[in-house]
Symmetry: C2
Subunit: 290 residues, 2 copies
């Protein structure tokens, strides 16, 4: 679609579990903003987390705080997230013409009916961190991203890739991911040698008890770093000076009356609020000056 | 794909919120069976609920107990569910060529790469129960199902449609759904006049506090009725004599060691189980005779 002031700017989420998100929802404040959408069944709805429900264990990912940071710089515009990440996948699983690739292309084409594709958000590599797979990472990623760009007619759209966590070398699966540093080097090299491509370091980020998945607050941090890379068209090689403050600003953004009503509706529909309490709180909300 | 003993039999879930499912997960026992799959990102994984994550309020739907009942009659076969239902949608929202229709067709085609499409599961109509819309229901449904059959090359695959709940006339939105009986008649008439199409009554089923969505146990009942219609190639016009017993058998099916290990893994990944407890329980499980 043509770009204008009402354009919804969409971002494709691809990769494996740390793009889908496994942070615990209880560990961070929610992000709820009517101008942040997610694609479900080919249509846009207001984003809630988990966004990328690829597993019963899906939770907080980096896309929500990415979107929140984007909104800080685009006060009157809408952003839409296209969730297509799939846990436990290698680059071979993402082969061109396979179901993951074809689904991501199709979902993005549905999104493009009503939005302007504005970025690729990639986080993947744990499943290419063993058995010699890392030596093929650069070439396979190059082919994959080129295929996405071609299929989606998106030659210049920024591609942001994040590094794997340093915690991978310890923890329950520590002996497994022997090549994660080589994958990080390949991701960095890809960004350094490919137009419109940027690398975001996972420095200082921490994991769930599994030693495998970024915890919720680390996903919030990674998301604002992704936005910094996107906005500045640059690599982000360490923590931002103000990342905690920025996360607080995003999470504490005041809710509009519509947003408050929508959250009440969700609580009621989930059974967390009785009908009487729901109607009382809705009535109180509607009687307040807007 | 060709049919053989290893064929996965797939079923497309389409319609609105009561197909997606809004029953509270805490209200029923889980159904977990490695032979019951769901399509996510174009690939099959073991089914967990919610299956059809169209909203943050998604919960128990009818498809899980449908699949459980199917498994009782197909002990060595696999079933796969293709979740494409979208809350709050009218038949106009399902127009041929629109995002919901195109997404459902595409997801089913991805599923058909590795499965045999074996049925359509439809529940929809609340959003056509007002404003004169019910008088167009029969014709619009006829066109829609014909288009699905054509796109998916599935002229003879059974189509199962369930009735709307009697509770719709009371409750919070009671005055809204003035034409729900007419929609039920149209669904019944469609089944009675169309080959390979069957109607399932929602008799005696109950709702959440919203008076709008089937509660969890009602969804379990509706699912086994859908299976009775599918298996018997007939309308099911009231409760089954043994539906409670059948639901118990499905929910209490003994878990294999693999299934128990997978559920432990999910609990751990969700943070419901510490690393030490997870490893202890896994170790105990693996030391037991299989």
């Amino acid at each position: 679609m043509d770009r204008n002031e009402n354009t919804l700017h969409s971002f494709l989420m691809i990769g494996q579990s740390n793009m889908a998100g496994r942070g615990y929802i209880k560990d961070v404040k929610p992000i709820y903003d009517e101008h942040i959408k997610m694609l479900v069944n080919g249509r846009w709805q207001t984003m809630t987390e988990p966004i990328n429900f690829d597993r019963p264990t899906s939770g907080i990912g980096l896309a929500a705080s990415f979107a929140g940071a984007w909104r800080m710089k685009n006060e009157n515009l809408q952003i839409g997230l296209i969730p297509c990440a799939e846990g436990g996948t290698s680059l071979d699983d993402w082969e061109v013409g396979g179901p993951l690739f074809d689904n991501a292309v199709f979902q993005t084409k549905l999104a493009q009916r009503t939005s302007l594709l504005s970025g690729f958000l990639w986080h993947q590599g744990e499943n290419d961190s063993f058995g010699g797979r890392s030596s093929y990472y650069f070439d396979k990623l190059t082919n994959l991203v080129a295929a996405f760009r071609k299929e989606l007619q998106a030659p210049d759209v920024p591609f942001i890739a994040g590094g794997l966590g340093d915690f991978l070398s310890s923890g329950r699966y520590g002996t497994y991911f022997t090549e994660f540093s080589a994958v990080n080097q390949a991701l960095r090299e890809y960004a350094d040698t490919t137009a419109n491509s940027y690398f975001v370091a996972a420095s200082d980020l921490t994991a769930n008890a599994d030693g495998l998945h970024f915890d919720a607050i680390s996903q919030r941090k990674l998301g604002v770093r992704y936005f910094d890379a996107f906005y500045g068209r640059k690599n982000v090689l360490g923590p931002l000076d103000d990342e905690n403050e920025l996360i607080n600003r995003i999470q504490d953004k005041p809710l509009t009356r519509n947003e408050k009503a929508a959250l009440l509706e969700i609580s009621f529909a989930r059974g967390d609020l009785s009908l009487a309490d729901f109607e009382n709180q809705l009535s109180t909300l509607n009687s307040m000056p807007s």
